[in-house]
Amino acid sequence: MTTNTSTPDLHPGRLQWQSAVITAIVPRTARIKSFFLRLPQPFDFLAGQHVDVRLSAEDGYQAQRSYSIASAPDASGEIELAIERLEDGEVSPFFHDIAVVGDEIELRGPIGGYFVWSIGDAGPIVLIGGGSGLVPLVSMIRHRANQRVNTPFVLLASARTWDDVLYRDELLQYAARQDGFQLVLTTTREGARRPGDFERRIDRQMIASMLACLSQTPRQCLVCGSNPFVEAASQALIAAAVNADVIRTERYG
């Protein structure tokens, strides 16, 4: 594209890179930390959207990755990302091992307009997340809680152990309100701790008993996590007679 370099390109809808500042780093589980970022140019976003992060080396080499926004849409000018450390990864170990409060991180967003939930979207809503795949779903759950709507939500969260459930205590608190948000946990390497929870990988039977928590068929099912997880969960939904048209997936590759 040929543009006059002295004037910034203000193409409508253009996603601009900006340098966000890390204001806090909070360990969430053994492998996931939250990074709070202050945006010099705050943007509106929908719960479920993500940002692209760009890291640059001294010689100009750059790496980019996508991270879902964990915080709910609000006017704070800050967003929260929750990043899982992948062994031998290029970007996630940088965040875990090197980044500190005060560092500047380039990012742009919001991105993705399909894997989203807005307060006007009717329920019941089924959310299924594995590991860090809970991140965009938690943004939706926080948004629902902040806006005090009682759209029926049921979240099925899968993790290795009780301590690996991302945002576990916060989710338990929302569930305790009994305002239409229901939480089902399944731990694949540890026994279930609460009545109604599971201790195995997601299957059709588990989905069927989760759907039985709802008084109506789901209007929307949002499934997020690694590809094998998303495949298994979405095929289990279809096997439990959920229409494929209401299932949306976000795969972390």
Binding site: R14, L15, S56, V223, Q235
Partner: protein, 201 residues
Amino acid sequence: MATRGFGGRRPPRDTAGRIPPGQSATDGFPVLAATPTPYIPLDQWSFTLKVGPRTVATWNWEQFNALPRTQFTRDIHCVTKWTKLDTIWEGVSIDDLLKAAGLEPPTKFTLAHSYGGYSTNVPIDDLTGGKAMVALRYDGKPLEPDHGGPARLLVPHLYFWKSAKWVNGLQFTQRDEAGFWELRGYHMRGDPWKEERFAGD
């Protein structure tokens, strides 16, 4: 602006020139899709070529498999930042498809359509001249459903969301009509070497 403390993992020197900006090479084959994987029985599969609303040709699985075959070994680039080098595909080139239908491109734009409702727009110049195919086989085997089987569009020189999975039709349009991701802010063309990820890039 350099990011404090970031060194980065460089591609090996011999492949460095093949990795577009912001991408990194992977040995795996990640799967991205906005919907569950549809499983389409081959006896129900068909491919339709349209000009606007008008159908000009339809093939069932058997007829489609009888069309001339083309092989591609290409690098592919996903907008989610991974690049996979030297992927091996077999299928029916768009040139052969148009020839079989006896159709000269009537417009400059197309929309590819898929089972499950996905669509993506690709200018015809990016499909003809040996640039693209409807792929039926990957790495010597029938294409797996989660990678888009039975058949996917393959336009390897554009970001991979243009290579529509579970493809079942190609439609010529008068104007460049936005498809599924293009309606949601992604770039109308998607050239990885120009980093055309989002509208305005």
